[in-house]
């Protein structure tokens, strides 16, 4: 099922933010990084975790689904593209819809920006800039087979549970070997919207 995509392995991440700096160098949003780097347990350890656009597959990427201007295109190979500048109205619906907190709005330009999996590079068969430079391989670009050939026994998951809502993604996450069948817990479930219990 999985083609050439990004695999995230938090166990290898050293929190260096090379990915963040590299993302700023991307020609489609130069100067702005689309990567979140979380230090997950500050005060306890130096553990860290990068979040790139997960290129959600199922349901249709939430950002694209909610876009009133149909500006977010999903290509045949599953890449959720940055908003089309001729269509985007800068409403920020996508920002609110994304369960991973990826898209950003340039308020002045009234434009959305997000990771488009370095389409300019991947079209040439290159890895996205973040996965190219990541000094540890915490961000890896390739196929699952390539990943497993280089890291024997590695297991991945590509579904995330937000409460009862499941999101399947194009980007996958390395998980402990015994958790392979499980979805990755993707944050707290939504329990209330405008005072209404939606459980």
């Amino acid at each position: 099922m999985m083609g050439r995509t990004i695999f995230i392995d938090p166990g290898r991440c050293i929190g260096c933010q090379a990915c963040v700096s590299a993302c700023r160098e991307c020609d489609s949003h130069r100067g702005k990084s689309m990567i979140h780097l979380d230090y997950t347990e500050p005060g306890v350890s130096v553990a860290s975790l990068p979040t790139v656009c997960m290129h959600c597959e199922d349901p249709v990427a939430p950002c694209a689904e909610v876009c009133p201007a149909d500006a977010i295109l999903v290509t045949a190979d599953g890449v959720v593209q940055q908003a089309d500048t001729t269509r985007c109205i800068g409403c920020a619906n996508c920002v609110n819809a994304c369960p991973f907190g990826v898209p950003k709005i340039d308020l002045q330009a009234k434009l959305q920006m997000k990771c488009n999996l370095c389409y300019d590079r991947t079209a040439y068969g290159l890895a996205p800039m973040c996965a190219t430079v990541c000094p540890t391989g915490a961000l890896f670009y390739g196929t699952l087979e390539e990943l497993q050939a280089e890291r024997p026994g590695v297991q991945v998951a590509d579904s995330f549970a937000f409460g009862d809502v499941m999101v399947t993604t194009g980007v996958a996450m390395v998980v402990p070997a015994d958790k392979v069948q499980w979805p990755v817990p993707g944050g707290l479930p939504v329990v209330e919207v405008n005072g209404v219990d939606v459980r």
Partner: protein, 772 residues
């Protein structure tokens, strides 16, 4: 590909058995060589070169636009880094055309005056007149020269020659003295050669990797891929560090010992290895001297005693001994954490003893290494800018070596000065007015030397002080003359990385008007001092050819290395004695060392307590180190927006048991002074230890607190441990803006978060999630 494709290096052979994870995918993917696509797209040029910063020396391309200006970076599939880069490497290109660049000589006749821009002639004439005046009145040795280990090897060679031939002074040293000279001293004593024993790729073949006193994840990030690669193969990982660093976090054994107790710990590990019969006796009998004495001496370090000294459980020492001792192939790497001590040489020797006693030397996956801090920390001392060394690592005290170099330099041996003193000792001599004039080249002692007040006093006492730099460092801002020189991308030259692999840096753009190369400035000063015939170098290539000759026949042999060969091969490890020689990536194959008897000379190591005593008043250990976003004194990285934003300020790391909350202002007091930092409260540090990163100037300088005690042999300062206490304070100080030349406004991008009173989220920086 179009005709605009740059002449890249010949593709490096990839050996799949040692290729780090992720490498092949880039190559196989598209058909276009993975690292040359921009040229095809935009008509820009990619100039192959290396990162200017740490000792890994990652390969990179600089993107050059049609106007010939560097404007970006592109990963490069070089053998060392296989396209990977850390945040410093990615942002390094922004230095090249940075608005803070110095573009005219700055000058003033006394420190009471403001700097003004001067012509090159005026600045050079003034400098030469001051050299003449000081040396005329007080002798040649009253003028000193301090070089830097971020310079290309050609320039470090020139620094040594300029001091001895043009200035005729014995007082020359360099800031690599603050880096890895303890390891150099230990390696020389044990093996007769001063470099790491194995290439990085050997790490991928080891079964047990011991990393001591090295925060690899933050200081040498790209080396982490080799560590993780070894883990993928099932190697066990032992990390010895008072802090739980990113690499320690995933180690099989993390030994969080108290700073300053390393040799007691390693002696105890060897004690257990002997007791459990894990030594390689045939190897020891055939290839070493001094083993009986070492075996005898470590009997004084049973695990129970070391456990008490180091503050770690006794069982942990036994576990380390068994894991390391039983591994089929084991390697040990160390860095400043064990070297920055008044017993730095001993610490390194105790690790060498461990590797040699278990027969882990000179084999794929088995050996030792010291990890270089500065880009050219290795090459920077090989060719004579260190007080006691002549080119080719020759000793300035050795009659034969003096004769050889005098011949090459065309001077009388009697005119060749004797050995000088080390960098810190030179500062003490400045205080005593024994050294009255100084030229500093690409170093920033106001941030990088310990015990800031002493350093400031020493420099303030100087009658004349000139600095070479491309940004106005804190030290240059205190000088009489500042010469604006090139950044790395504006000149060519070689550096030797941690593996002693010599790599070639290429020129990517012309320097701005008004800027000259360090080579030009040294040669021009020499000419005005009357030694022009000995400094008739047009550029780096000519200097390198003299360096090759000057090193021929020594252990540090560069003779077989040429610019052309470097470009063809992607790097050659010295010794390389002939043009046909492939270089020497791995030392001691077959067991022979570089001592005349070919043996390892094992040395007895006795632990002693750090110099600064603990008392009730000063009960804690203060230790210092780096953060991933900044490089050394920060003169370069504190000006690059992304890096400043990632780690805007220093902090003090304290254990929760002290009762502080995150961000509380905490005063750290030592016998040298006190400063206030925001607390980064974390369980990742020992309760009896506090940590401050050192890249900032006063009043946020770790080095206002550290001690200027030196290792008696290597003369490295004891940065990594001194006695301290902490107490609550009212507020933290704002980080000062980096100095700029008169008429230059502080660069707005670097002002972003200077006033931020809070520590970063983690030692690696501020999280990006909470900022967006």
């Amino acid at each position: 590909m179009t005709a605009t494709e740059p002449a890249g290096p010949v593709p490096l052979p990839l050996d799949p058995s040692i290729a780090p994870p992720g490498t092949r995918t880039f190559r196989d993917a598209g058909g276009i060589p993975a690292d040359q696509w921009h040229a095809d797209q935009n008509g820009e040029t990619l100039v192959p070169t290396h990162c200017c910063f740490c000792g890994v020396q990652c390969g990179m391309y600089l993107r050059v636009d049609r106007a010939g200006k560097v404007f970006g970076v592109e990963p490069r599939n070089h053998d060392i880094n296989r396209m990977r880069l850390c945040p410093k490497g990615i942002n390094a290109y922004q230095q090249v055309n940075h608005p803070d660049r110095l573009t005219a000589p700055l000058m003033r006749r006394s420190r009471d005056e403001e700097f003004r821009e001067a012509s090159w002639d005026e600045a050079l004439d003034f400098t030469v007149a001051e050299i003449r005046r000081i040396q005329g009145a007080h002798g040649n040795d009253a003028f000193g020269l301090l070089g830097g280990a971020s310079l290309y090897s050609e320039k470090t060679y020139l620094v040594g020659k300029f001091a001895r031939v043009a200035l005729k002074t014995r007082h020359v040293d360099y800031n690599g003295r603050l880096c890895m000279v303890s390891a150099a001293g230990a390696n020389k004593l044990a093996f007769g050669i001063d470099r790491a024993g194995n290439p990085f790729s050997d790490i991928l073949l080891t079964d047990c990797l011991l990393i001591a006193g090295s925060n690899v994840g933050e200081c040498f990030p790209v080396m982490t891929q080799y560590v993780w690669g070894a883990r993928d193969r099932g190697a066990s990982l032992i990390v010895v560090d008072p802090r739980e660093t990113a690499v320690a976090r995933t180690a099989d054994i993390h030994v969080a010992l108290r700073p300053g107790t390393d040799s007691a710990f390693f002696n105890a590990v060897l004690n257990v290895i002997i007791a459990e019969g894990l030594t390689d006796e045939p190897y020891l009998a055939a290839h070493t001297t001094g083993w009986d004495e070492v075996r005898e001496a470590v009997q004084g370090y049973p695990p129970s005693r070391a456990a008490e000294i180091c503050g770690v459980p006794e069982e942990q020492i036994v576990r380390v001994a068994r894991t390391f001792g039983r591994a089929a192939k084991a390697m040990a790497f160390h860095a400043r954490g064990v070297e920055h001590h008044s017993q730095g040489v001993e610490n390194c020797l105790s690790i060498i003893n461990l590797c040699v006693a278990t027969g882990n030397l000179g084999k794929p996956g088995a050996g030792y290494g010291t990890i270089t801090g500065q880009g050219n920390g290795q090459g920077g001392r090989e060719h004579g800018q260190k007080a006691d060394l002549l080119p080719g690592g020759r000793s300035i005290l050795n009659e034969e070596h003096r004769r050889q170099i005098s011949r090459i330099w065309g001077i009388e041996e009697s005119d060749l000065p004797q050995a000088g003193t080390s960098m810190m000792e030179m500062v003490w001599q400045m205080q005593r007015r024994e050294i009255r004039g100084l030229i500093g080249i690409c170093n920033n002692p106001f941030v990088s030397l310990p015990n800031y007040r002493t350093v400031k006093e020493g420099y303030d006492t100087l009658e004349f002080h000139a600095q070479f730099d491309f940004f106005l460092s804190e030290t240059a801002a205190n000088a009489h003359v500042v010469f604006p020189v090139t950044v790395w991308a504006e000149d060519e030259g070689v550096m030797a990385n941690t593996e002693a692999r010599v790599v070639k840096h290429n020129k990517a753009q012309e320097p701005p008007a008004g800027v000259r190369t360090d080579t030009w400035v040294m040669c021009e000063l020499a000419r005005r001092l009357g030694a022009g015939d000995k400094f008739a170098f047009a550029g780096s290539r000519e200097v390198f050819d003299e360096l090759r000759l000057a090193s021929a026949g020594t252990v540090n042999d560069y003779f077989g290395i040429t610019y052309e060969r470097l470009e063809e091969t992607g790097g050659i490890a010295w010794p390389c004695p002939s043009l046909e020689h492939p270089g020497t990536p791995r030392l001691f194959e077959g067991g022979r060392t570089y001592h005349p008897d070919g043996k390892v000379h094992l040395q007895v190591v006795e632990w002693h307590a750090p110099v600064d005593p603990y008392t009730e008043e000063y009960p804690l250990s203060l230790t210092t180190g780096r953060t991933v976003a900044h490089f050394l004194s920060g003169n370069q990285t504190r000006r690059l927006g992304a890096l400043v934003e990632q780690t805007p300020r220093p902090w003090v790391e304290v254990h929760p048991s002290h009762g502080y909350r995150n961000g509380d202002p905490v005063r750290v007091v030592t016998r040298r002074g006190s400063e206030v930092f925001p607390a980064l409260v974390t369980e990742a540090i020992r309760p009896d230890t506090v940590f401050i990163p050192y890249h900032w100037p006063v009043p946020t300088a770790a080095n206002a607190l550290t001690i200027d005690a030196l290792d008696p042999r290597s003369k490295i300062p004891e940065y990594k441990v001194c006695a301290a206490r902490i107490e609550p304070a009212d507020r933290v100080d704002e980080v000062p803006a980096p100095p700029t030349a008169p008429g230059h406004e502080a660069y707005p991008e670097t002002q972003v978060s200077r006033a931020d009173p809070l520590p970063p989220t983690s030692s690696q920086g501020r999280g990006t999630a909470e900022r967006s």
